[in-house]
Amino acid sequence: MSWSSLIPATSFMPIQATEIAKEVDLLYAFLIISSLVSFVILIGGMTWFLIKFKRTSLDQKSAYITHNNFAEFLWSFIPLVIMMGIFYWGMVIFEKLRTPPEDIAAEIHVTAEQWAWTYRYANGKEFYSSANDPMIVPAGKATKLILTSKDVIHSFYVPAFRTKQDAVPGKLTQLWFEPKQAGEYIVFCTEYCGTKHSGMMIKIKAIPSEEYAAWYHAEKKGADSPADLGKTLFAQKACASCHSIDGARIVGPTMKGLFGSSRKFADGSQAKADENYLRESILVSSAKIVEGYPPAMPVFQGQLSDEDVANLIEYIKSIK
């Protein structure tokens, strides 16, 4: 219970299934109130002037006022301050929405296509979405999704979590959430994607985390885990001839501890090795050359499918 629940408008928002949803709604309530106040000042003031200064006779004269510096300063400065406040408040929430916590209980690769979602768990469990096969996640724990698309841009939107992220072909984007309680939550596609755009709905089903663990380890639907498949590929594509997995320096950088480390590049720039970085480095290694290494790696663009790349990334992540 907070003061924001006094604002009837917030009651139109979907249920608050995460902590962040509550924070978003608090900002929403503030925005509604401050908008109402601004509206009353502006339109109320205007209406008052209209009534008070309505022309009553033909020879009436208007006042001659051209400007007023003090008033003009005030009504530029005050809105500026308020808007900076709103900007800051929104930014704080945005960063929380965008930064997954360190400890993630479930990581799911989600691939969108016209007009369905496929989700693949770290151990290889894989589902082709339908209303009967909701995306199972643990309640009370953080889940991270790694999104991409096979064809056009789609967007993964969970109103109850107040979060959304585009799934872009040729890119990996991410989204995280922590449902407070067990329950079913609807997912919409919000980037227009053709005929059945509005039919592209699935559900997220949050279950208690012990149940989740049991479900997760129960008989698998898919074959090997993505990391295992990645390991095989790593061998097949001869990655190991240049990259060690034990920290040794050969032709290229070692894979050990690579994921999440910060990389320095030949052109002086820096980046964190996240999924997108790995993806780019595998497909077009010349895009960013790590400082001190030759640009020797072949281009794998066109030779590895999106799924291959995802598997390789999972394998690299597992080399701690």
């Binding site: 200064f53 929104g90 945005f94 596609c189």
Partner: protein, 537 residues
């Protein structure tokens, strides 16, 4: 100088631009900016009816009256695309500048015509050509991408009609650029003696800022649209990831034009509102400089905020934050204008003829549209609202509630000057009541739908969204009825309206100092300007 001021000798008053040369050919080859303005009027009004037809179709479908859906998904998506593309590229963008702007800009400056009359006529035909090319995509190979043409959907997954639509928009872009160029040169070179830059009417400041955006931003759109065509026909691989391209790059290009474009739509409207509010308050505009410079400020900042359409596109968090803060800066000049208009009414003597009602309607709707813009500019909030009906409601409040209200107000205001006749004030007021009420009934519920989570561009939706959608549909019929009454009022005014005096509203700007309708060259003797544009002393 209050009411008597006509310099026209009366022997000349019955010779005016409307009867200067007769027959359809004299119109089609005219170099007179006033006639060209009216030709745009007829064209834009026709396109508006077509766009409106699609809008009513969309709303009727979404009301889900009856057991069967009215449209199938593909038809629905095409309706949605045609509605958006027609309204944006062919109605709201050209509406005020090309129609009202062409008509009043030279007269307000005390000029005989625009700087390049032939170019002006050419711009009109280029616009017609673009509209026809775009319209041909409605007949062959219909498009279903939405007016934003996002790749790779538009390049890889849908019909080749996109090429036609995009080529049409590309062609219309030239018309837009050339008109902007013409206005800028006219404003600099053809002002009447004594009309310094701080004596030009605010309508002109608004058109001037708009022209700057048109010249600088439209080429970006043109290139982007050409690239879509190239991608689709030649497979160049700039936007399609299968060819090594980047789909998000398209969004950057697209919004780099289309965000400033929303100001191409609203700045001229703000110009009209500035004229209407002083004229019907009979009072000097408050803060002339603040309004003039805030137009230029909006034009400048509008180039730096495109990324606020892409907070969840996969662009970096930092980029999102930077775009958010810059977007907030646009809110300030917008707020300044609202405060100035309201202060203009303070201690004025206000009357409420139809044009003023539309101006007041603009204030009401635009304020709601602007305030909800702040919700969307706030990153943490926009993640929830992006691509939902909240955004649909927001941009209809600003674009339709703002621009179209101003356009209607402007038509009723300058009508006596255009045709030498008055429209029925009662007709204007009835159409206003219907449009204003209908508008709120249609679009306010969409804010709530957005908050509830209903995404935009949906053919079908969850049962809990039904009631609000039905209310919205009923509202759309009220709007339709309102425009019908408006159309009848205008047509009646053209043929049967009371004869108008030269300055029926007692306004101060130069167009009211010549006869109604003006002679072919606007003034019989070149006016000399000795004071600011709104000197209601």
């Amino acid at each position: 100088m209050s009411s008597a001021h006509t310099k026209t000798e009366h022997g000349h008053a019955d010779h005016n631009y409307l009867n200067h040369g007769s027959g359809i050919w004299s119109w089609m080859t005219t170099l007179d900016h006033k006639r060209i303005g009216l030709m745009y009027f007829a064209t834009v009004a026709t396109l508006f009816l077509i766009g409106g037809f699609f809008a009513l179709g969309i709303r009727l479908h979404l009301a889900k009256f009856g057991a069967e859906p009215l449209l199938d998904p593909d038809t629905y998506n095409k309706f949605m695309t045609f509605h958006g593309a027609i309204m944006v590229f062919m109605v709201i963008i050209p509406g005020i500048p090309a129609f009202l702007g062409n008509f009043v800009l030279p007269i307000q400056l005390g000029a005989k015509d625009v700087a390049f009359p032939r170019l002006n006529l050419a711009s009109y035909y280029i616009f017609i050509a673009g509209a026809l090319i775009a319209a041909s995509s409605m007949i062959f190979n219909q498009v279903d991408t939405g007016w934003t043409f996002y790749t790779p959907y538009s390049t890889a997954k849908t019909s080749n009609g996109v090429i036609l639509l995009v080529l049409g928009a590309f062609t219309m872009g030239f018309s837009s650029i050339l008109t902007g160029l013409n206005f800028i040169v006219t404003t600099h070179k053809l002002r009447a003696p004594g009309m310094t830059m701080d004596r030009i009417p605010l309508m002109i400041w608004a058109l001037y800022s708009t022209s700057i955006i048109q010249i600088l931003a439209t080429p970006i759109l043109a290139i982007t649209l050409l690239l879509i065509g190239a991608e689709k026909t030649l497979g160049v691989g700039i936007f399609d990831p299968d060819l090594g391209g980047d789909p998000v790059l398209f969004q950057h290009f697209f919004w780099f034009y289309s965000h400033p474009a929303v100001y191409i739509m609203i700045l001229p409207a703000m110009g009209v509102i500035s004229e209407l509010i002083t004229a019907f308050s009979k009072k000097t505009i408050f803060g002339y400089r603040a309004i003039a410079y805030s137009s230029v400020a909006i034009a400048a900042v509008s180039f730096l905020v495109w990324g606020h359409h892409m907070f969840v596109s996969g662009q970096s968090t930092l980029a999102g934050i930077v775009f958010s803060i810059i977007t907030m800066f646009v809110g300030v000049p917008t707020a300044i204008k609202l405060f100035n208009w309201i202060s203009t009414m303070y201690r004025g003597t206000v009357t409420f003829e139809a044009p003023m009602l539309f101006a007041l309607g603009f204030m009401f709707l635009f304020t709601i549209g602007g305030l909800t813009g702040v919700f969307l500019a706030s990153t943490g909030m926009d993640v929830h609202f992006h691509d939902t009906y909240f955004v649909v409601a927001h941009f209809h409040y600003v674009m339709v509630g703002g621009t179209l209200m101003a356009l209607m107000g402007g038509i009723y205001y300058w009508f006596p000057k255009m045709f030498g006749r008055m429209t029925s004030d009662l007709g204007g007021r009835i159409s206003w009541v219907l449009i204003f009420t209908g508008f709120n009934v249609t679009f306010f519920p969409q804010f709530v739908l957005g908050a509830m989570g209903m995404p935009r561009r949906y053919f079908d939706y969850l049962p809990e969204y039904t009631n609000l959608n039905q209310i919205s549909t009923v509202g759309s019929w009220l709007i339709g009825l309102g425009f019908l009454v408006g159309l009848i009022t205008i047509i009646h005014g053209i043929f049967k309206g009371e004869k108008a005096s030269d300055n029926p509203w007692g306004a101060k700007t130069l167009e009211w100092q010549t006869s109604s309708p003006p002679p072919h060259e606007n003034f019989t003797t070149t006016p000399t300007v000795t004071a600011g544009p709104y000197d209601f002393r």
